[in-house]
Symmetry: C2
Subunit: 150 residues, 2 copies
DNA sequence: GGAAATTAGTTAGCATAGCTAACTATACTC
DNA sequence: GAGTATAGTTAGCTATGCTAACTAATTTCC
């Protein structure tokens, strides 16, 4: 039996791995959400702000696409960030589009928040032996590749 | 400079890996959420139901703890599941506690939903070369280990 | 040049999901 | 039996997701 289903092994493995990966991602974020909340900014706002800080200024639609949400959702997220003084909007030549940019305050808050966010995870990660830390790095790259093919 | 900071390399790597891992987890779930929505059940309900189906019956407080949410939040999630006929509640000797159990319908819906959920991810995962698929499996185990230390 | 179509973003309204504070009901303690 | 502790619920707030319907600006095309 162990070899009898060899033909399907890769497929079954893929499903099993996908399932575990999915579950792991859920539990990972559930833990980190606790630290996220210390920043006083919601996770969606933090994530959108991070795109602007590390990826540079862009339009609302582009930001929505980057964050995989619909424009109305992003519109409200940006409104919250603006209200908090973390994002500024500029007019563009195209009168329909806006150019969204992180403010200095937004950049600062994000970097602090980001630091806090990965702090717990870093601790757990850096407890790994050197070799496994390196593996985790490779596998994170692999995961990013998988996500791009999603 | 490349060797000058060697002492901090592991630490910096850990932060960088943690950050990328966090970001990857966010984007992974954001993609999979699309499939989740086909089930007509919200992600929190699906996840709570999955604990009952695969982990067995338990009280509301235990379920809240397993899901890392507060009791009022779980109370509402369970109310939704009950309304949809996916979960049943039984009295216990202790009149304060309830015993939550997945119904047959809940079990069925969950299994179907679970299948759909990992379907897209499985596809992306099984597109990997054999060697990298195996690496990803190891990675997931490593990730689960990291999460336990979180 | 102007009408029609397209595109960018917003507003309105709904649902889920997270929280704290305050409540009810049951069980335990002394 | 009175007081305390525990399990869940209710109420009310915020954030995030959606679709539908709207406004405003640009582009297309006759």
């Amino acid at each position: 039996m162990a070899d009898g289903k060899q033909k399907n092994r890769a497929g079954r493995d893929a499903v099993q791995i996908a399932d575990q990966l999915h579950s792991a991602a859920i539990h990972l974020l559930r833990r980190l959400r606790v630290r996220d909340r210390e920043s006083g900014i919601g996770p969606a706002q933090l994530s959108a702000l991070s795109v602007l800080v590390f990826g540079g200024a862009r339009s609302l639609g582009e930001l929505a696409e980057a964050e995989q949400v619909r424009p109305p959702t992003m519109s409200r997220i940006v409104a919250g960030l603006e209200r908090a003084g973390l994002v500024r909007r500029h007019a563009t030549e195209d009168g329909r589009r806006v150019r969204l940019e992180a403010t200095a305050k937004g950049t600062k808050i994000l970097q602090e928040g980001r630091k806090r966010r990965v702090e717990s995870l870093s601790l757990a990660v850096s407890a790994l032996p050197r070799k496994e830390l390196q593996q985790l790095g490779e596998f994170t790259a692999l995961l990013q590749h998988v996500i791009r093919n999603l």
